[in-house]
């Protein structure tokens, strides 16, 4: 923890009487790319706005680079924020949008020009200097907003759902772009997303949030393979989550004997982890879809719907067919309650 760069300590954020984020603790290392992941309304934007200084915390503290900035005005913190809506200045052309912050610093004209041009080149917008934001595509506007923040050489760059408004292709492009910019500039980055694939692909570490609290924090590999709670497991694609009672699993629909005795309160399986075509349990196929390398089944069983992926080599089952399956111990992820 010696190289902590951003430190949130017992940070409590409220809107009037509503507590959006209760006592959040988080440390971020210098140069790290952190993803804030969580469902809508869990407090991701709220947390970002507090770090940026746009929202005063009800209690707790924020330290950046060893300095307490809790009471420091937003325009003195040296933090960049790329808004989900871009928040570009419509009356200024692309060049002036990027140069805006540099002009405020009263830098020499030559330096403003070179830094602005360099910033626009970094995000691949050279040649667009004279365009107004309204004359640019969504992806270009987004990159312009990124350049506008980057040229300020912020200590920390915050990005609120930076990729959410883009189509699939642009999204992939921007993903690599963000990663490249981050490696190139070494800036500490925090980005918000509610897309787990995006978080897994981009982040050094993922902060999974629920209702203003950190549900789990770890590397993408850790979160993917070792979610600790049912909420985290569900977010990471474990679609079959059941309570354990003795040597069986159960839910509101009923229970199934496992044939072994787990020592956790909850067990979860990805659809990939459920074995299909053999096993002690029977169910009826209620949905079947082809997904390239495998088929995705929904099997109606004593536990209600169980989601299972079957290898394409196995014979296809039709809707209404009876199908046997197994919930193996080897692929089960134990979760705490």
């Amino acid at each position: 923890m010696s190289d902590t760069f951003v430190q949130l300590t017992d940070l409590t954020l409220t809107y009037g009487k509503n507590i959006a984020v209760p006592a959040l603790n988080l440390s971020i290392r210098e140069g790290e790319l952190i993803a804030l992941l969580g469902p809508s309304g869990c407090g991701k934007t709220t947390t970002m706005r507090a770090i940026a200084g746009l929202l005063a915390p009800a209690s707790g503290s924020i330290h950046i680079d060893g300095r307490d900035v809790t009471r420091l005005a937003a325009n003195k913190r040296g933090i960049g924020l790329v808004f989900q809506s871009y928040a570009l200045f419509p009356h200024l052309n692309a060049f002036e949008n990027v140069a805006f912050g540099l002009r405020l610093q009263k830098l020499p004209e030559a330096e403003i020009k070179s830094r602005t041009e360099q910033g626009m080149a970094t995000v691949g917008l050279s040649g667009f200097e004279g365009r107004k934001p309204a004359e640019m595509s969504g992806g270009q506007q987004q990159r312009l907003a990124l350049a506008r923040s980057l040229v300020m050489r912020p200590k920390v760059l915050l990005l609120d759902e930076p990729l959410s408004n883009l189509d699939a292709r642009l999204r992939l492009e921007m993903r690599t772009e963000l990663q490249r910019v981050q490696k190139e500039t070494g800036v500490t980055m925090v980005f918000v997303t509610h897309d787990q694939a995006e978080a897994l692909a981009l982040a050094d570490r993922i902060v999974l949030m629920q209702q203003g609290k950190i549900e789990q924090l770890g590397t993408p590999a850790q979160l993917y393979a070792q979610p600790e709670t049912a909420f985290a497991a569900e977010f990471m694609g474990f679609e079959n989550i059941f309570k354990v009672a003795g040597d069986s699993v159960q839910n509101d629909h009923g229970s199934l004997p496992l044939g072994y005795r787990p020592d956790s309160a909850i067990l979860a399986w990805r659809p990939d982890g459920v074995r299909v075509g053999q096993g002690p349990h029977q169910g009826r196929v209620t949905a079947c879809s082809f997904a390239g390398g495998h088929r995705e089944y929904v099997i109606d069983s004593a536990l209600g719907p169980v989601k299972a992926n079957a290898d394409i080599a196995l014979p296809e089952a039709q809707i209404g067919d009876s199908l046997s399956f197994d919930l193996p111990q080897a692929t089960a992820r134990p979760l705490r309650a």
Partner: protein, 258 residues
């Protein structure tokens, strides 16, 4: 048949709108001594005479000054008001909007009388100051309304972005908000200017010896002299308004804001 009826309605509308204007231009261009339509011959002498009438010159200057400074004052008060009404969740914002709009709703006669009875007389302010106050108050609703509507689409996060790039709140306002509501401010100015310049009922109560706005002066002139110069002056004023609106439309697409 439908087609014919549509053109008919359009034609009638145009006649109603433009007809009086044409009549006034022609009546002013009469060669005869009386205000009449159709004019008795054509000449520009009445147009020329307008410029020689001393009291018109004085009241024109007063009306101009009232319209310009009253409207600027209304904007100085109205822009922050519109900003606050848009940006902040003010308690009673609706009530404030209604109160601000009151001078549009309440007949000018009543506003004038009220100002005279409860402000001018008891507070003993001069007629010029009273006129200035009245015109500012009259224009204020237009300033708030028009500026408000141009601010409506302006997202708050633009200002936050400006702050994070180093602006103070005030700089964010002048560097980001103001440039983006420029058109609305100009529209409000023109609307306010024209409203103030043509204002009769309120000014009627607040005119004093030697202090008259142009429309009041024109009324007074007509009570004594009934020559075509009054029509000529009206036509000139109408052209002035047209010119202002035309230039504004050219510069900023004024009609988008009204």
């Amino acid at each position: 048949m439908r087609h014919f009826a549509n053109w008919g309605i359009l034609g009638l509308t145009l006649i109603f709108l433009i007809g009086p204007f044409v009549i006034i231009i022609l009546a002013g261009a009469s060669a005869g001594p009386n205000l009449a339509f159709p004019p008795e011959g054509l000449s520009l002498k009445w147009y020329a005479k307008v410029f020689t009438i001393e009291s018109f010159r004085a009241s024109f200057v007063l009306s101009m000054a009232l319209a310009v400074f009253g409207t600027i004052t209304a904007l100085v008060l109205g822009i922050p008001a519109a900003y606050a009404l848009n940006r902040y969740d003010l308690p009673g914002a609706e009530t404030i909007r209604t109160i601000v709009a009151a001078p549009i709703i309440v007949p000018g006669i009543i506003v004038g009388l009220a100002l005279l009875r409860y402000v001018v007389v008891p507070m003993n302010v001069t007629v010029t100051v009273a006129l200035f106050m009245a015109h500012t108050a009259l224009v204020l609703p237009y300033a708030v309304r028009v500026v408000s509507s141009s601010m409506h689409n302006l997202r708050a996060d633009m200002e936050e972005a400006a702050v994070l790039l180093g602006c103070s709140r005030m700089q964010a306002f002048t560097k980001v908000v103001l440039p983006n509501i420029r058109g609305g401010v100009l529209a409000a100015f023109i609307l306010g200017f024209v409203t103030s310049f043509n204002q009769v009922p309120v000014s009627l109560f607040l005119s004093g010896p030697g202090v008259r706005t142009l429309p009041i002066d024109m009324l007074a002139y007509m009570e004594i002299t009934f020559d075509p110069s009054i029509a000529a002056l009206s036509a000139l004023l109408a052209f002035m308004s047209l010119a202002i609106v035309f230039v504004a439309e050219r510069l900023l697409g004024f009609s988008r804001y009204v």
